[in-house]
Subunit: 205 residues, 2 copies
DNA sequence: AAATAAAATGAACGCTGTTCATTTTATTAT
DNA sequence: ATAATAAAATGAACAGCGTTCATTTTATTT
């Protein structure tokens, strides 16, 4: 029996190794410039081996997108030490943007690329658990805000969606290089300045 | 001289034909599933001919992104008949979302994909004129709002950027199928409901 | 040491974007 | 009208892509 257990662990280890190699290359040279052959070469295995452990490229991308969410969730969980929900909400948006900028390829994979969603369609569990969990943390924080008397006249879910969109939009414009190509007066601080407008706005709700 | 003129017109016509074929296929089956061979076949020309009229695929994608902006600008210009800037701003966001949903592939090309921006880097004029013009219309409207006494304590550019991000974020989440995969209570109306929260918010600024 | 099972392999397939020598078509000069 | 020239269109060929699968290598069991 111990052999079977060990085999299972070895399989998991190699799967993790492939993902690790893939992520390294993604960060280094971008997702679209990373090939299965690159990944195989990176970890000194053949192309065929990758396909023993993953159904296809979408499978790899989906697993990597899940890893990204684990990281983002840990960013969020840290902020849950903050008692005041409004203060927490403000910090969450900032952490979200920080994550997106520092992990732009992963962010794109998690929130923009089709691959992870297409993988869901082919799989048994069609729910986007990763997205639900992360968004749940935002929703919960906003719910706490409303329970505390903030944001009167607003509805939890639509407001949470609006906040998510606002921050997500900033991240997208930034990582897709649309900010620096629109001639802002202060292109270097517009992201910060824009987020500041959002903070001011929150106070007026 | 008339020959040269005619030749020039023919060249323009064929270029336009290629773009028309490309756009048709993009809408039909998505950008990433459209190949140069597809485009050539669609208009009954050879692959080589496409490369006589366009430097590479990015060149085609950039021209198509420009065409998309012409359409979006016309959406916006229509709304400039509305006198009250705040009313206009509200309608602009709605028109923007409508455009994104009805032309999701084009929208992705215009605001998310790397191709048009990469083409800019290789060209003489590195400015993103299309983006500047469209965003200029938003900026101008918000400026009018501030001049009229709305949005006190806010700054034009950062606020315009925030508004753009908010609406852009909603569009991205929708067209990248992140909305319908997060279990909203009312997934069918969340986009509308979320935009409504934004409208309520505008009133409080 | 032989038989069996599991894991890793890499050549091959049909795609992709791109190039460029060759052919076809159109224009100009005689 | 015919020959010479210029312009335009072509498609085979190249390297690289994701993916498959018969074959080989390695590990386990008998």
């Amino acid at each position: 029996m111990s052999t079977i257990d060990r085999k299972a662990k070895e399989k998991e280890a190699l799967k993790a190794l492939i993902l690790k190699g893939a992520k390294k290359l993604f960060v280094e040279k971008g997702i679209e410039h990373t090939t299965i052959r690159n990944i195989a070469e990176e970890i000194n295995y053949s192309v065929g081996t990758v396909y023993v452990y993953f159904k296809d490229k979408n499978d790899i991308l989906h697993d990597l997108h899940t890893i990204g969410f684990q990281e983002l969730d840990s960013y969020f969980m840290e902020l849950y030490t903050i008692e005041d929900p409004k203060e927490r909400l403000k910090k969450m948006g900032f952490a979200y943007i920080k994550f997106a900028i520092e992990n732009s390829e992963m962010y794109d994979l998690m929130f923009n690329l089709k691959a992870p969603i297409e993988f869901l369609k082919d799989s048994e569990n069609e729910d986007w658990d990763e997205g639900c969990t992360a968004f749940g943390l935002v929703k919960k924080t906003i719910e706490e805000c409303i329970n505390k008397g903030y944001f009167k006249g607003h509805n939890v879910e639509p407001l949470a969606f609006m906040v998510w969109s606002l921050v997500h939009g900033m991240c997208c414009l930034e990582i897709h290089q649309r900010i620096k190509n629109v001639n802002f007066t202060n292109p270097d601080t517009i992201l910060y300045d824009g987020y500041n407008e959002y903070l001011k706005m929150i106070e007026k709700l």
